[in-house]
């Protein structure tokens, strides 16, 4: 299922919601990055994402949540992550998508490395990512 098909299905499934917000994150073709690899630990990663989606649903009174994260090797321009939120009011849908992304960036069981000309480098969240996450506490 493509990103477009997933969003179309999500929209169709939430006809009654006034607003649907989506975020699509892609590998940026810059800084000499040739590829990105995301790895996970399935026994934790999947339940963790399900729990995160459920938290978002309750906290922002959502009609629906979609949270996808790819694993494996991705090339510049390719999709890494897709979230979508459906809510009665737009502010809730916006905040929930923001909340999901802040958590997926620096509080989900995923590990990211970049391949540059001189090989692979593990990436840790930036200070900005930690600050973004702290907004929700």
């Amino acid at each position: 299922m493509s990103v477009g098909e997933a969003l179309a299905a999500f929209n169709a499934a939430h006809d009654g919601a006034g607003g649907v917000v989506s975020f699509l994150g892609k590998v940026r073709p810059e800084g000499g990055v040739k590829a990105l690899e995301l790895s996970h630990y399935e026994p934790l990663t999947l339940p963790g994402m399900q729990d995160l989606a459920e938290q978002a649903r309750e906290r922002f009174d959502l009609a629906g949540v979609l949270a996808w994260h790819r694993i494996g090797v991705m090339k510049p321009g390719e999709a890494i992550v897709l979230v979508a939120t459906a809510a009665r009011h737009r502010r809730n849908a916006f905040e929930a998508a923001d909340f999901l992304m802040d958590h997926l960036k620096s509080a989900a069981w995923l590990w990211k490395r970049e391949r540059r000309d001189d090989g692979w480098h593990w990436i840790e969240p930036r200070d900005q990512d930690h600050e973004d996450l702290a907004r929700w506490n």
């Binding site: 934790l44 994260h69 509080a107 590990w111």
Partner: protein
């Protein structure tokens, strides 16, 4: 009679392998010995977590893995 230790993310590079079989049972002291000094140092850091049987330990020093259990070493994460 063995426990599987899984090395996630950058710990995989430090370990030079993705997983290692060690003798059961395995406690915190046994884990530090089994993984070698470099990874043991990482495990000493607060931000490195340990999971046993698919559950993150609230206090990794209470580790008690038995035959057939999987112990995952979890360095700081980054997604998206």
């Amino acid at each position: 009679m063995s426990v599987t230790i899984l090395f996630l993310g950058p710990l995989r590079d430090l370990a030079g392998e993705q997983e290692r079989e060690v003798a059961a049972p395995l406690d915190w002291k046994g884990l530090l010995e089994a993984v070698g000094p470099e990874i043991a140092e990482q495990l000493g850091e607060e931000r490195v977590n340990v999971a046993c049987k698919g559950k993150v330990l609230a206090d990794k020093r209470t580790l008690h893995a038995e035959d057939g259990d999987e112990v995952a070493l979890l360095p700081p994460v980054s997604g998206g």
